[in-house]
C-alpha cells in the first residue's frame, strides 16, 4: 500500500489537511472571542441594510471591532461590485 502510494506520487497526508483546516477555523474563532455579544446580529442587520441598496455578496462585507484603552473603533468594509 505504502509502495503504491509512493509510486502514484504521495497522496496528501490527512493529518496535514486536518491541521490546515484547524488553523483557519481556530484563527476565526479567536478573532470573535473578545467581541461583544451583539456583533453577529449587528453584522447581519448592517448587511441587510446595505443589500437594500446595493447587490453585494455575504462575504463582501467585513466588520471588525478594534479596542484601544479609551475608545473602540468599529470598522466596516464593503466591497461594492463594479457598476
Amino acid at each position: 500500500m505504502k509502495l503504491l502510494d509512493f509510486l502514484r506520487g504521495e497522496r496528501k497526508k490527512t493529518a496535514s489537511v486536518a491541521k490546515e483546516r484547524l488553523q483557519i477555523i481556530v484563527a476565526h474563532q479567536r478573532s470573535q472571542r473578545d467581541q461583544p455579544d451583539y456583533m453577529p446580529m449587528l453584522e447581519r442587520e448592517l448587511l441587510e441594510v446595505i443589500r437594500r441598496y446595493v447587490k453585494v455578496e455575504q462575504d463582501a462585507i467585513n466588520i471588525s471591532l478594534d479596542r484601544d484603552d479609551d475608545c473602540s473603533v468599529l470598522e466596516l468594509n464593503v466591497t461594492l461590485p463594479r457598476t
Binding site: 497526508k13 490527512t14 493529518a15 496535514s16 486536518a18 491541521k19 483546516r21 484547524l22 488553523q23 477555523i25 481556530v26 474563532q29 479567536r30 472571542r33 473578545d34
Partner: protein, 272 residues
C-alpha cells in the same frame, strides 16, 4: 487552601471523567488530600469510573439544597486514603446547580483538602461553566481529532473570560493541555494530528499525553481508575501527568511509534 482544577474539554467522549478519576487518584497516591466532584448533573458517571456507584447516598444537589450535609455526601475511596468523591445528582433538573451553592461547597472543601478536581460535563452550557467558574487551573482534555481540537479552543476562550479569576482581574486560570487517545502508529502514518501540531494550534502547555490504550476500558469495566494499573502505558502516562501537575519535570513517554521487531511480531507484544 486547596487548588481547584477543572477537567474540561467542550466535546464529549474525549476522556474527561477517565482523566478526572485518574488524576485525582494519582494525586491521592502522592499523599495529597484530594476530592473529585462530578458536575454532570443528570448524567453522572464519575461514580462508576471510581467504582463507588453502589455507595452513593447523597449527592451534590442534595448538599446544595440543604437535604444533606457535605460529610454525608462525600464518599471515601476504598483503595486510596486521602481521596473522596462527591457524586452528581442523577435525576434532578440542571437548574438545581446554583453558583452560590457550588461556591459554598468549594469554600468548605478548600479548608480540608489540598486539591479539588471538578469533572466538567460536555458542552459549554451552565454545568460546564459552573465547573470551571471557580477554578485556579484547567486541564483541557483533547483528542487528536479536528472537532475535539476546535472545541478545546472554544473552552480556552471561556476559561479566559467566564471564570471568577477573569471577572476579578486576577491571574488567569492556568491552562494545561492533556492529549488523550493518542495513537503513535497512526501519527506515524500521517493520518492522525501529532502532538506538536495540536500544541501549535492551541498554544498552551502540554501537561501530559495518554496513549490510546486497552487498559482504559479494562479500568472502567472494573471501576478502578487506570492510575492503579501501574503496568499499563495509560496508567504510567497518568502518573507522569500527575507528577507534572505537582511541578516535577518528567520526560514525555508513549508518543513515539515503536516499530515491532521480528520476535515480538511472531510472539505478540507484551500486555499493553
Amino acid at each position: 487552601m486547596a487548588k481547584i482544577i477543572v477537567v474540561t474539554s467542550g466535546k464529549g467522549g474525549v476522556g474527561k471523567t477517565t482523566s478526572a478519576a485518574a488524576i485525582a487518584t494519582g494525586l491521592a497516591l502522592r499523599g495529597k488530600k484530594t476530592v473529585v466532584i462530578d458536575f454532570d448533573v443528570g448524567l453522572r458517571n464519575l461514580d462508576l469510573i471510581m467504582g463507588c456507584e453502589r455507595r452513593v447516598v447523597y449527592d451534590l444537589v442534595n448538599v446544595i439544597q440543604g437535604e444533606a450535609g457535605l460529610n454525608q455526601a462525600l464518599i471515601r475511596d476504598k483503595r486510596v486514603d486521602n481521596l473522596h468523591i462527591l457524586p452528581a445528582s442523577q435525576t434532578r433538573d440542571k437548574d438545581a446547580l446554583t453558583s452560590d451553592g457550588v461556591e459554598k461547597i468549594l469554600d468548605t472543601l478548600t479548608k480540608d483538602f489540598d486539591y479539588i478536581i471538578c469533572d466538567s460535563p460536555a458542552g459549554i452550557e451552565r454545568g460546564a461553566q459552573l465547573a470551571m467558574y471557580f477554578a485556579d487551573a484547567a486541564v483541557v482534555v483533547t483528542n487528536p481529532e479536528v472537532s475535539s481540537v476546535r472545541d478545546s479552543d472554544r473552552i480556552l476562550g471561556l476559561l479566559a473570560s467566564k471564570t471568577r479569576r477573569a471577572e476579578r482581574n486576577q491571574d488567569a486560570v492556568k491552562e494545561h493541555l492533556l492529549i488523550t487517545r493518542y495513537n503513535p502508529s497512526r501519527v506515524d502514518d500521517g493520518d492522525m494530528l501529532n502532538l506538536d501540531d495540536i500544541q501549535e494550534i492551541l498554544a498552551i502547555d502540554l501537561l501530559g499525553l495518554i496513549p490510546e490504550s486497552e487498559a482504559v476500558l479494562r479500568a472502567s469495566n472494573q471501576g478502578i481508575p487506570v492510575t492503579h494499573d501501574a503496568k499499563s502505558d495509560a496508567g504510567q502516562a497518568y502518573t507522569d501527568t500527575v507528577s507534572r501537575l505537582l511541578g516535577e519535570d518528567v520526560p514525555l513517554r508513549f508518543h513515539e511509534f515503536q516499530k515491532k521487531g521480528l520476535l515480538s511480531r511472531m510472539f505478540g507484544g507484551g500486555r499493553r
